[in-house]
């Protein structure tokens, strides 16, 4: 569980000032029942993970509109993480299947509008998989950090896409 031990590094500009070293910003769209509860369990178990992620709670991954993801990037996220219940475990029976089906078509759209799929992570995390959540956040943070800030999309957008 070495990942759970990583030292937190990100400090937002408000606290550290403008010259703080760059840290990726990651938006997480997660379902209320599984991943959100899994993330809670990481807290209850006092695990530690990188602080770069900001969770937005949704009832189900089925609720996730692809536009949410595009919006997140547009608003300056360097990475987006989408996670819900395991296939077959959906609190709403099948919402996550729909979500999955939708994302298949969605990949090509993303590539088309210039979003690097490496910045977008899909995962299934149940309410008991706190460790998996911790590892996911750490791994995604690490990977996005390697990719560097994601300016391209915001820039294109500024010029009016």
């Amino acid at each position: 569980m070495s990942n759970a031990k990583v030292k937190a590094e990100i400090v937002s500009k408000e606290v550290e000032g403008k010259d703080a070293p760059w840290e990726p910003r990651i938006t997480a769209l997660v379902c209320n029942w599984c991943t959100y509860a899994g993330a809670d369990l990481a807290g209850t178990s006092r695990m530690e993970y990188r602080p770069n992620v900001r969770i937005i709670k949704l009832p189900c991954t089925g609720r996730i509109d692809p536009l949410f993801i595009i919006k997140a990037f547009e608003k300056g996220a360097d990475g987006v993480l989408v996670s819900g219940c395991h296939p077959g475990d959906c609190h709403y029976n099948a919402g996550n299947y729909h979500a999955r089906r939708r994302w298949i078509g969605f990949n090509s759209l993303m590539e088309f509008i210039g979003i690097d799929m490496k910045r977008l992570h899909f995962s299934w995390i149940s309410a008991s998989e706190a460790i998996k959540w911790v590892d996911l956040v750490n791994d995604v943070t690490e990977e996005v950090k390697k990719l560097g800030p994601f300016g391209e999309y915001q820039d294109i957008n500024k010029d009016g896409l």
């Binding site: 990481a42 209850t44 006092r46 695990m47 602080p51 609720r63």
Partner: protein, 657 residues
Amino acid sequence: MPRIGVFVCQCGNNISSTVDTAKVAEEMSKLPGVVLTEDYKFMCSSPGQDMLKETVAKNKLDGIVVAACSPHMHEKTFRKAVEKAGLNPYKCEIANIREQCSWVHHDTTKKIGTAKSIDLTRMVLERLKRNKNLTKISIPVNKRALVIGGGIAGIQAAIDIADGGRDVILVEKEPSIGGNMAKLSETFPTMDCSQCIMTPKMVEAELHDRIQLYTYSEVEKLDGYIGNFSVTIRKKARFVNEDLCTGCGDCWNKCPFKADSEFEHGLTKRKLIYTPFPQSVPNIPVIDKERCPKILKDKCGLCEKVCQPEAIDYTQEDEIVVEEVGAIVVATGYNLMDEARFAPYGYGKLKDVINGLQFERLASSSGPTGGEIQRPSDGKVPESIVFIQCVGSRDESKGVSYCSKICCMYTAKHTMLYKHKVHDGQAYVFYMDIRSGGKRYEEFTRRAIEQEGAMYLRGRVSRVYEKNGKLMVQGADTLSGSQVVIEADMVVLATALVSRQGADSLAQKLGIGYDKHKFYSEYHPKLKPVETITGGIFLAGSCVGPMDIPESVSMGSAAASKVQALFSADMLDREPITSKVREETCNACWDCVTACPYVAISKKEIKNRKGEVIRMVANVNDGLCTGCGTCIAACRSKTIDLAGYTDEQVYAALNAF
């Protein structure tokens, strides 16, 4: 301009040790719409709630954010509080700065925690600004209950609910109810005979006017939601007509073939038409369709010939029944771990190495030896028995990490049973710790040692092997620091209690949670121990974790009282998180209709004043809609939206990061 209050909770040190709550409050006060902020020690305490109510009322706030623990903890608490202050409860939102911030970022300089808390609170604040007033939805409650699993926990729950005047369906997958308790000889700590206290309960369940038994049956499918479930049950073919059979036993007396008895854990045989044990409830046999030659290749047919009431029916097929219920109690119990994993102890290879339940059967007066302790290999009365505790339990590398909790007690019981039956026999127990917390439990284990002469050795056994007809048990006594070898006639393994086989697939059918050991998850381990995350489904007994009879029974009763509470009202309030259709823009493509997993969307006609249908639109049934939001993502014209999670609210939160 909205009038919003932000309340930042310190949670004693839980939040404030890594988050500067005052700073969070200060930052929030700078945001538009925020008219006041508070930095408070314990928001959920009653002074905290009072303060919240007063502040809301006095300042005429029209929305509040509480930055505190997970909404799964106290969202309800705070919504209730603001409601009392006259605010719509859905105008209260929680920013999770404890479970998802202060507890996972251990930086005591507070930089990280504070910065993240500010972000999280701001995101929730922006979302809150777009919250609408919502009102709870009322739905009717079907006041019949389903209990799954007919062990002692399920039986207790069923009887309690039925005694409260409600109809109960009890589904048991074996041919008889009774579960594991029916196999026990005498029970700790009082040593009363298990059958003597269990059989009356089983009969009571069978004869109760309000209990309907479905034995040899399993739940196939669950639809619906709290108050309105629809359960599909498969009644497996017994090949015996339950209405005609009188339980006379002529059939099993005549059946010429035998197989290992499951109930006796292979210590003896049963016929191919059989009841699991003589006191079975119902006392109606089943035919072992895997083995009966009549079923397999149309040979024999003896039982049909001898059955006078003509109850045998070789053509019987599984039957599917659908029942409507309002609440469910899951009580599917435990299994013992498969000892095959413990090769060093020779289980499966050495005949006289047995598990705890097998010992119960040997000690039981209704068991294969009539209660005489005889070893399986040659029927000899063992002069010495070694009991090995924690087999598979507390063993991260080869078994499970947890303690099975009851085996210390039943091992002590076994030594006593042995001593009572074989006066000059010697019992040895290898233990790591004696865990006998509970009323009169410690006294019980002390009695085994001091009065009944069991020799307790603190250490684990490394291996068991056979030598000259004796079992050689080689282990350590860590208290004297020595290696110990004992020549025994029999070895009893206190193997770990594990979750029921198939527990996970049942959980998936029911939509309830389970942990990594596949034990079912309580809503909250301390404060909601019989609830699950799914409304209307409750838990009882050892399907939650290892548990003895008193606990299983308490839990059965507790679950029953939860069901009664649910049934005490005719209507049930539901969260108003449901989809709404903006009829003007709906173009009747029906994408939402196909997307909705709950079949909650139907096609509605829009008529003009003359009553002519002018167009069709989608329509959501509030009773069925669970608020999953799948339809919204499916609707290309952005016509459906989800109350409480509108597009606008989500975008506001995204924008605020």
